[in-house]
Symmetry: C2
Subunit: 162 residues, 2 copies
Amino acid sequence: MAQEELFVGAALQGWKQVVERVDKVFAGFSDEDLQREVAPGRNRVYYLLGHLTAVHDHLLAILRLGERRYAELDTQFIKTPDRKFEGKEPSAAELRKAWSDANERLAAAFATLKPAEWLERHASVSEEDFAKEPHRHRLSVLLSRTSHAASHGGQVNLASSR
Amino acid sequence: MAQEELFVGAALQGWKQVVERVDKVFAGFSDEDLQREVAPGRNRVYYLLGHLTAVHDHLLAILRLGERRYAELDTQFIKTPDRKFEGKEPSAAELRKAWSDANERLAAAFATLKPAEWLERHASVSEEDFAKEPHRHRLSVLLSRTSHAASHGGQVNLASSR
């Protein structure tokens, strides 16, 4: 196997493992239990499900791999802290569906990229800046979002029943 | 910059960011506050500091980059759940020192590796198995430990003062 495939394969495997682990934890919560806080006064699991869904949905666009579908989640789950949003909240079922959909679309898009394409710029950097800062490529965003999901996944774990 | 340097550079940057972030969170706790639990009935921050120190110290050996120094931490912080260890616990100061030392030794060792050397086998896989499973390389362990640190870092965050 070519070196670049081993490098990219490791990053993709890392993403997949984290997303699958977090997905399994979310799936272990009933809709009612999603309302639990991960620690007293901290985010509800429901909020973190919405937050990760919004971030993963956005990731598709940041990687220039497609149009996002759930931009309406940003206001509640990225721009507003938990319990401060005053609009209509999506149901747990709606969030679960969007979460799965976003991750499936990412997986399908990742499968189409050749290793060298992971080193192309992400959407938040201009072509001019990218010429000077070649490390601002898609792969760096993927790794950053992997750690992001792992971090919140660790928190959600705390609210699981033992 | 050569492709393989961009791939490895991204993984190393991801590790560095997570470790620095977690380090900063630990540094924000007084020795007394390290005794806080991340959530009711869950691990103390002190335990997670010991746990991450033991895992990072071990990482040096798994990557075949040196001898570990704090193997005695494994019994308390890897093999035994929090509060069940009956021997003498290290002080917070001792743990903090070992934590910094382990991470500094890793950073120094990482700086010596060429990109292709990240695709060499890690110590937990035999040469025979590695010939059949070339994805079991050092880089895959680094990415896995990055997510591990991010996951516990997210938990420790919950015990920080707001």
